[in-house]
Each structure stands twice: as structure tokens, then as C-alpha cells.
């Protein structure tokens, strides 16, 4: 039976949530390919949550342990995954900071092409096909992967994690010899927010319409009311130093595909749209009824954000309190 290798990510010794999406993407291909799904986790010793990966569709869970694998080890991870993928039919990564670094390393080692940042996967005529946004989301490229393994990275939030219980049998995978060329010395935690805009299911973004950095507290309160939201920003406010670059959405920032994107006081410049037009539902709050953001918004409210946002926060709180 062919296997699909799903590459998991861990941080601080725990499996990252995005890995469940990777498993769901792998699971989606397993049936048409009559394949089984192996999850592989690189870590330094036991990784919390790896024993639960069967619940999300892993037939087997391969653990590759190495003392230096606590932090991301580009060369070591690449050598390990390339070794594990040798006989796989498909290799699935997350298009995260790690996945975007790791997937091309592995693809180059295997001498095969990589479809990165895909938003849809399918099997046609026994081969994997992928759809990926290109030209800043203004077109979709459909490609067929001719090599084996077919190598893809899936954009966070485009596949919903599903509970698809499988055995999740634990297997130890031996880390092959590798030459370490780069070393991740440390991870400095960002001063704000645990949830990253690229991975949050709900993103509340603010632009110049907020007038002053201190007013972002309005958006932080709204995000807190939603509970699973991150606060994003337009480039105008990042360049002004109001927010960290890590929060910037758009062509020179992050590309996000949350289920809900709320644009507050953002005009909707083409470079901003490049980063968020694949969101499932877009809400715009802007006092200018002709602002371009309303052209992509599913729902809009015209008016003063300083009156609308607090009201919205209150309504969401009420809703979630009742629920």
C-alpha cells in the first residue's frame, strides 16, 4: 500500500495545531490513492500530542528523536524527512515559517518539484493535482505533480482538521547522519499575541483609520471577545511603527486565509488584498462607503469605527456568553 507522509511541527515539545490540518490534507488524498498515512515528528524526545495524532488520521506516527531537534534544525530535519519520504507517494508539509524553509530543502534533496502554498489538493488519473494562488491572489495556478513522492505544502487554515480515528501506531524513526550547516540558537518570543495572524481562524486587522497606536486596544478587545482571533495590521500602520511587522497582512507581510477577516479602518489597497482575499468571510468597517475594501467584503458597515467596534465587541461577548 502506498504511503502519504505528513510532516508534523512541534514547538516547545508539543505538536502544533497546524499539523492537524496537514493530516487532514493527507487524509483527503489517502482514499483516492488507496494509501495509508504516516505522520512524522522531529523532536528532542517525547513530543506532547504525538500520541493523539491517530485521532486526526495518522495510521502510524513516526518519531525522529535527536538531542538537537528541540528547536528547528534545518539540515537535520531535511535529512530525516528526505530519508523517510524515499518510498512515499506523497509528502505533505504546512506552508508555515518552518515548512516553507524545510519543504524546498527536502524537494531539492529528492530532486523533485514542490507545489508550495497550495489551497486545494485532488487526485486526477492517479496523480496529485494542486491549486495555488499566484499573482498576489489574482489568479489560481493548477499543477499536476509528475514525480514520486508528490511534494506539497498546504497553506494554513485552508484545510479543516477532521477527526478521522486511525490506529496512530507509534514507530521510532532513526535520524540519519547529516552535516549541520546552520544552527538555530534560540527563539525569541514575540512581545505580543500567542496566536499568529497566519494561523488564527479569525483575524481582526486595523489600518490608519485607527488614528493612534493606542486605539488598537479596541481591536484587541474584539479579538479577545472572539476568543480565537489574532490582531493584524495594514502596512501603513506597521511602517508608522504602531504594530510589529509580524502582524502585517498583505503582499509584503503575511498571507492569511482565516474563516473570518475583519478589516477595520483599512482602505483595501491591492497590496493589502493580496494578503487576505482568500479569507472565507470578509467584514469591512470603514467610514468611506467608496473604500475599495467594500468590493471584496461579504459584509460591510459604513460608519465610524470608534462607535462600531465597541458595539461589535459587546455583541460578540453577549453571543459567546449566551452560547
Amino acid at each position: 500500500m502506498p504511503t502519504i507522509l505528513a510532516v508534523m511541527e512541534q514547538r516547545d515539545g508539543g505538536v502544533r495545531k497546524v499539523s492537524h490540518e496537514v493530516l487532514a490534507a493527507a487524509r483527503g488524498l489517502a482514499e483516492p490513492l488507496s494509501a495509508s498515512v504516516d505522520a512524522i515528528v522531529c523532536g528532542a524526545g517525547a513530543v506532547a500530542g504525538s500520541d493523539g495524532l491517530g485521532r486526526f488520521g495518522a495510521d502510524r506516527v513516526l518519531t525522529a528523536s535527536y538531542p538537537d531537534f528541540g528547536l528547528y534544525n534545518p539540515d537535520g530535519y531535511a535529512a530525516t524527512i528526505a530519508e523517510a519520504a524515499r518510498d512515499a507517494a506523497v509528502l505533505v508539509f504546512a506552508a508555515t515559517a518552518t515548512g516553507r524553509d524545510l519543504a524546498p530543502r527536502v524537494a531539492a534533496r529528492l530532486g523533485l518539484g514542490l507545489a508550495s502554498d497550495v489551497t486545494e489538493l485532488a487526485v486526477e488519473g492517479g496523480k496529485v493535482t494542486a491549486t495555488r494562488p499566484v499573482y498576489a491572489g489574482k489568479a489560481l495556478l493548477r499543477v499536476r505533480l509528475e514525480g514520486s513522492p508528490a511534494i506539497v505544502s498546504v497553506r494554513p487554515n485552508t484545510v479543516q482538521p477532521v477527526e478521522a480515528p486511525r490506529p496512530g501506531t507509534g514507530v521510532t524513526f532513526a535520524v540519519p547522519a547529516f552535516s549541520q550547516r546552520v544552527t538555530v540558537q534560540a527563539v525569541k518570543a514575540a512581545p505580543t499575541a500567542a496566536l499568529d495572524v497566519a494561523e488564527a481562524p479569525i483575524v481582526v486587522s486595523g489600518g490608519r483609520g485607527l488614528k493612534d497606536p493606542k486605539h488598537f486596544v479596541l481591536l484587541e478587545e474584539l479579538a479577545a471577545a472572539f476568543g480565537n482571533a489574532a490582531v493584524g495590521a495594514s502596512r501603513a500602520v506597521v511602517d508608522a511603527g504602531w504594530r510589529d511587522h509580524g502582524a502585517q497582512v498583505g503582499q509584503t507581510g503575511k498571507t492569511v486565509s482565516p474563516s473570518l477577516y475583519v478589516a477595520v479602518g483599512i482602505s483595501g489597497a491591492i497590496q493589502h488584498l493580496a494578503g487576505m482575499r482568500t479569507a472565507k468571510t470578509i467584514v469591512a468597517i470603514n467610514r468611506d462607503k467608496d473604500a475599495p475594501i467594500f468590493k471584496v467584503a461579504d459584509y460591510g458597515i459604513v460608519g465610524d469605527l470608534f462607535e462600531i467596534v465597541p458595539r461589535l465587541t459587546a455583541e460578540v461577548r453577549r453571543l459567546r456568553g449566551d452560547a
Binding site: G113, V143, V184, G246, I301
Partner: protein, 249 residues
């Protein structure tokens, strides 16, 4: 310090994208092309590092059609010393682009090979890393902060909710992110000087790779949105729609 920069010619992000008659590529007529924005950070970094070292050469490589000569001239006007155009149409498989670039960079004796973190047309996010792998060089991606001293470098790259601090020795490959520097604009003097700088053009050796393009499509039209209302009184309606119609909260 010997530094190479790989530069791609891409459509300006504000241009309207029209699918070509082949259904697999864009209609280039009337499209304005620019240097890939992330590659401008790479160009600037090359100049900064060369200036800091006091000596060396900064060379720009581009794989593209003949109009890419103009893109290379822009880099030369910023201050790079010479350019190499590998003539060919970049295939969809980034590994083929990487192979062609790596074949040319090999033996160039570079201390640093710089890329953008991604090309804004194909969004591949891969060519720089692949070149590093093919050349067996250390590679740090999406670099937003860089210090080089005594033949080694320390770089910071943004990850979800933090920054990774990464070290390696030179020679090395880096892919550059926003925040690394502020690209300079070419001066008038630079533009004049660029006309006389060497620009070599030769055919790229390109394979077809393992990705076949099935088609390029316009994204599905978002269903027309609605203005729910004006002012705070519209909020309850919005919340109801988000809950009952969009089912996102």
C-alpha cells in the same frame, strides 16, 4: 566580499492580471514589470555588505526573457557591478530555475548568495533554498536582521509568534525579507553608469521538471457583498449574518 544576487522580473502587483489565450499563463500585453520587491532587499544588502567589507564584487543574476535586461540595469543603477542574464522562460517547477541558477553560480567563489524570500508572481518561496541545497551551502530563509563578522553570520527570521536566531559560517545563501534594510533608489549618476556596466547574456539550460501546468484560472468571483447598514445600529444585523448565513461565529 564576493556577493551574488538572484533577481526576478515580475509583474507590478498593482497591474491587472488577464489570463492569456493558452489558458496557462498571463497575457503580458500592457503589463508593467518591476524587479521582485523582495529581491530589492537582497540587492541593497549586497551593496551594504560590499561597502562594509571595502572590497569585492556584487553580481546580479536573472533568469528570464530579453526584456529582463532592463531589470538587471535597474540593479546595476543601484550600484551592482555587473549582470548576467540567463535567457529562458522560467518554468513552473522552481527546482529547474534553481538548477539553472546553481549551475551558473557554482565556481563563482561567492561569500554570499542572496535571494528574495519569494517571488510575488509565482509565490513559490523555494528557489533560494533549493540553490543552497544544490550547492551544499548553509542557508537561512526570510532574514529580517543580519550581522556578519569573522567569516560567520547571525540572522533573525520571523516565525509564528516569534523570531528564530540562526547562525552559520560563510559562504552562505540567504533569502531576504522586509525589515532587513531600506533599498536605495538609483541615482541619476548610477543610472548613467549602469549603461556602461557589463551585462552578459547567454541561454539558460532548463529542464522541464516534475510540475506540469494544467491551467491558470481567474479566482472564483467572491459573491457580491452587501453593506449591512450604517453606524453601530447595523452591528446586530452583522452578527446575525455572521452566525446564521456565513456560519463563522
Amino acid at each position: 566580499m564576493r556577493i551574488a544576487v538572484c533577481l526576478k522580473r515580475v509583474p507590478d502587483t498593482t497591474t491587472k492580471i488577464v489570463i492569456g489565450s493558452d489558458g496557462k499563463s498571463i497575457d503580458e500585453s500592457g503589463v508593467k514589470f518591476v524587479p521582485n520587491p523582495y529581491d530589492e532587499f537582497a540587492l541593497e544588502e549586497a551593496l551594504k555588505q560590499k561597502e562594509a567589507a571595502g572590497t569585492g564584487e556584487a553580481v546580479v543574476y536573472c533568469l528570464g526573457g530579453d526584456p529582463a535586461q532592463e531589470t538587471i540595469r535597474t540593479a546595476l543603477a543601484m550600484g551592482l557591478d555587473r549582470g548576467v542574464l540567463l535567457q529562458g522562460a522560467p518554468p513552473a517547477d522552481g527546482l529547474e530555475v534553481a538548477r539553472a541558477l546553481a549551475a551558473e553560480l557554482q565556481g563563482g567563489n561567492y561569500d554570499l548568495i542572496l535571494f528574495g524570500k519569494l517571488a510575488v508572481d509565482d509565490y513559490n518561496h523555494q528557489v533560494g533554498v533549493m540553490v543552497a541545497e544544490l550547492l551544499g551551502l548553509p542557508c537561512v530563509t526570510s532574514v529580517a536582521h543580519l550581522t556578519i563578522a569573522n567569516g560567520a553570520l547571525e540572522a533573525e527570521r520571523e516565525i509564528e509568534g516569534g523570531l528564530e536566531v540562526v547562525t552559520c559560517s560563510l559562504p552562505a545563501v540567504l533569502t531576504c525579507d522586509k525589515g532587513l534594510n531600506t533599498p536605495r533608489l538609483p541615482s541619476l549618476k548610477g543610472i548613467m553608469a549602469a549603461k556602461k556596466k557589463p551585462l552578459e547574456a547567454k541561454p539558460a539550460s532548463l529542464g522541464s521538471g516534475t510540475l506540469s501546468v494544467l491551467g491558470l484560472l481567474s479566482p472564483p468571483e467572491r459573491k457580491p457583498g452587501q453593506i449591512v447598514g450604517e453606524g453601530p445600529d447595523a452591528v446586530p444585523v452583522l452578527v446575525r449574518l455572521l452566525r446564521e448565513e456565513a456560519k463563522v461565529i
